[in-house]
């Protein structure tokens, strides 16, 4: 069973073997959790988005066309669910925590990468910095970094044009650099 391709698993599920969908979950749940957690900012909301995305994908399997990579098709659904959850969260909790430049400065001084506690603080600052990006920029930069997609692949997932995506990634990186390197903080 584990040597099946994604398309092969989909065919099994469509033939009536719902349990075979667990193979899709095993292959993609944790992998796309990485994008979801960074996109929505916390594990709880990420899990909500992932659960809804994978269930939505299951229900839409009959509309999956094998000429498209299954992972990309599924990721598109994950991205859309993250957008929904993020929008709901913005209405519920409009304030992102301010980033703290002193944490970054202290970490740099302590050669943070050799000190797990400071490294954890860096990751926390990164999460806060990501939260300060507009959602479209955050989405684009995360797809570039967590999934290492080409701009054409990101375009297929998000529906945006490659020129717009390149600009979003560029602006996101500029803003992250600005925040993380301590030049400015909103």
């Amino acid at each position: 069973m584990t040597t099946l391709t994604d398309a092969g698993i989909v065919r099994r599920v469509l033939a009536g073997d719902a349990d075979a969908y667990a193979l899709i979950v095993d292959r993609y749940y944790d992998r796309y959790a990485r994008f979801a957690v960074h996109m929505v900012g916390n594990r709880e909301d990420a899990e909500e988005a992932l659960q809804d995305a994978f269930l939505r994908a299951y229900r839409a399997l009959d509309r999956y066309e094998e000429r498209e990579k299954f992972g990309g098709w599924l990721l598109r659904i994950v991205v859309n669910e993250c957008r929904t959850v993020a929008a709901r969260r913005r209405r519920r909790d409009l304030r992102f925590p301010d980033c703290d430049p002193t944490i970054w400065s202290a970490a740099m001084a302590a050669h943070a990468a050799d000190h797990p506690a400071e490294l954890a603080a860096l990751r926390e600052e990164l999460a806060r910095a990501l939260g300060q990006l507009p959602a479209e920029q955050r989405e684009a930069v995360l797809l570039k970094y967590t999934e290492e997609l080409s701009y054409d692949e990101i375009a297929a997932v998000t529906g945006a044009g490659t020129s717009a995506l390149k600009m979003r990634v560029k602006r996101a990186c500029e803003r992250l650099r600005e925040i993380l390197l301590g030049a400015a903080c909103v």
Partner: protein
């Protein structure tokens, strides 16, 4: 390792940022089990694509 704090990638971000973003995130098995529970419930309510039930089910129901 401290070089990562200063070395910038192709987008001008410190190299550690990319590593942090690509760091695996493991969701707990309970979450996956809950998901499969929802999948099975959905399967009971409606088979994907509206396809006919598998042959074994039809046999048990005396339909063949």
């Amino acid at each position: 390792m401290s070089d990562d704090l200063e070395r910038l990638d192709e987008h001008g971000l410190p190299a550690w940022v990319g590593r942090a973003l690509r760091r695996p995130v493991a969701m707990d098995d309970a979450a996956k089990a809950r998901l499969m529970g929802r999948v099975r419930a959905a399967a009971e309510q409606r088979r994907p694509g509206g396809r006919r039930a598998p042959a074994a089910w039809r046999t048990r129901r005396g339909l063949t």
